[in-house]
Subunit: 278 residues, 2 copies
């Protein structure tokens, strides 16, 4: 198959490298900044540095852009798409993106499936891409706007071929609720944590727990701001839930409720073990 | 030298293994539960499974017990200590422990220095000990109750010999303020995080950020409860500070203040990079 990848950042670029290295498919890469696709071509991540009109020859189109840019690109270039092409995005938030792409492709032969590869590192850009990024990770697919089961199968097979360890089928709505908790909240907490007074005075006084809790404070502020505001309600709810839970620990401290604190910690320990054994 | 280690849990047992494997000193190990010191002797972590009276022959005494048990043991066995022995504890909280041990050793020749090895894993007990636990870590020493500089030097040299990468000299008060933030708060946040509704339903929807944010929710509830209540005021203050910071993100979401959110995230990114380059 010919696979068109639009946007050769960390995710799109790593997908390009994984597909080129591990499958017999041909990757056509497109990037607004030309020097990036030229570099991708030079290192063998893609077989061709393409243009939107190359969409006409591609069976699968993978969007590696932010939400708004993803929608804009598809809107502008819809007329280039090949009949029956499979379209998948890689945005971290699904409801708004899927609604928009679902509407755009509704009266076409394009088979659109929402996608979210659960992999990443706290860096961005083609310079940081690597083909092993998705090894063992979960690929979430939201096929609610696609009535053709075989498109899901084709995409799932491709994902497994390039290293994903699991395909998770979900509705966009459920995805956004859970992701608000597992991913967006994690970034908010890390970011809020390093706003603490001692975050820049910890030398000699810290070890693994501080490092892990603050790892993802290193983030792309523009991308995460956009993602947060596509999931405002869910994210606000889980931040509120966490604040309430933190307040319980604070209250147990302030009121000398040692039994209460012990129970909070013991329950947390139980829930963590349970969460690992799912 | 003869080194007495009281309590062969994760920290005491790993120190025993590191000293026995990497130095020419003789380790006398003592553990209330006899089977543990017998096991430590069997695997070569200690040279002798001792008794409190063996303190009489030991130049350095390392306490590997929780705060209260540390104070009780020293109190009960003070009369056994060798003249001029160096005493160091390994408790995660220093003000209360140092005050108590400072007072107990005040009119003796014992040279007491507070200690806190910044290393650990989310497991406890001798079964999980290993000699590399402290490799590259910081050893915090609080020498305010010890007027003899040479004792600090002896202890620092021993720490470097067994793998520590840095000796951090601090007052107990400063230690407890910073540790409340870097270590205790991290455990509170992880524990509070897994109380979230979706913590046990994340399968397929999570990756590294969820795993890292919740790693230390797996903890020894008894030990941490004790440590928290020896640092109530500092810990309560940093939980409060974090709640206030989290509230800023929530407010930015709820009021659609995208610029404010972008600034919070960008500042967090800056502070994280700064914290790594200290």
């Amino acid at each position: 198959m010919n696979i068109f990848i639009c946007g050769l950042g960390l995710i799109g670029g790593s997908l390009a490298k994984a597909i080129s290295a591990r499958t017999s498919h041909t990757v056509v890469g497109y990037n607004r900044t030309k020097s990036v696709s030229e570099e991708a071509l030079r290192v063998g991540a893609i077989a061709k540095a393409g243009e939107p009109k190359d969409l006409a020859d591609c069976d699968i189109v993978i969007m590696g852009l932010y939400p708004k840019a993803t929608i804009d690109f598809v809107k502008e270039n819809l007329h280039y798409f090949k009949d029956g092409a499979i379209l998948v995005d890689t945005c971290g938030i699904k409801t708004e993106v899927c609604e928009a792409l679902g509407a755009l492709t509704k009266d076409t032969s394009i088979r659109f499936i929402g996608g979210h590869p659960m992999a990443g590192i706290e860096r961005s850009g083609f310079a940081y891409t690597f083909p092993e990024l998705f090894d063992g990770a979960s690929m979430i697919l939201c096929p609610e706007y696609c009535s053709d089961e075989s498109a899901v199968e084709t995409l799932s097979a491709l994902c497994r071929e390039i290293g994903f360890g699991r395909i998770t089928i979900s509705t966009a709505e459920h995805h956004d609720k859970v992701i608000a908790f597992t991913s967006q909240l994690a970034h908010v907490v890390s970011s809020a944590y390093v706003h603490g007074e001692y975050a820049t005075q910890h030398k000699g006084f810290s070890a693994g727990s501080f490092r892990d809790l603050t790892r993802v404070a290193r983030l792309n502020a523009g991308m995460w701001t956009e993602l947060f505001y596509e999931n405002t309600e869910n994210l606000s709810a889980v931040i509120g839930e966490l604040i309430d839970n933190l307040q319980k620990y604070k209250t147990a401290l302030d009121t000398n409720d040692r039994e209460g604190m012990h129970k909070l910690l013991a329950d947390g320990n139980e829930r963590k073990i349970q969460s690992e054994n799912l």
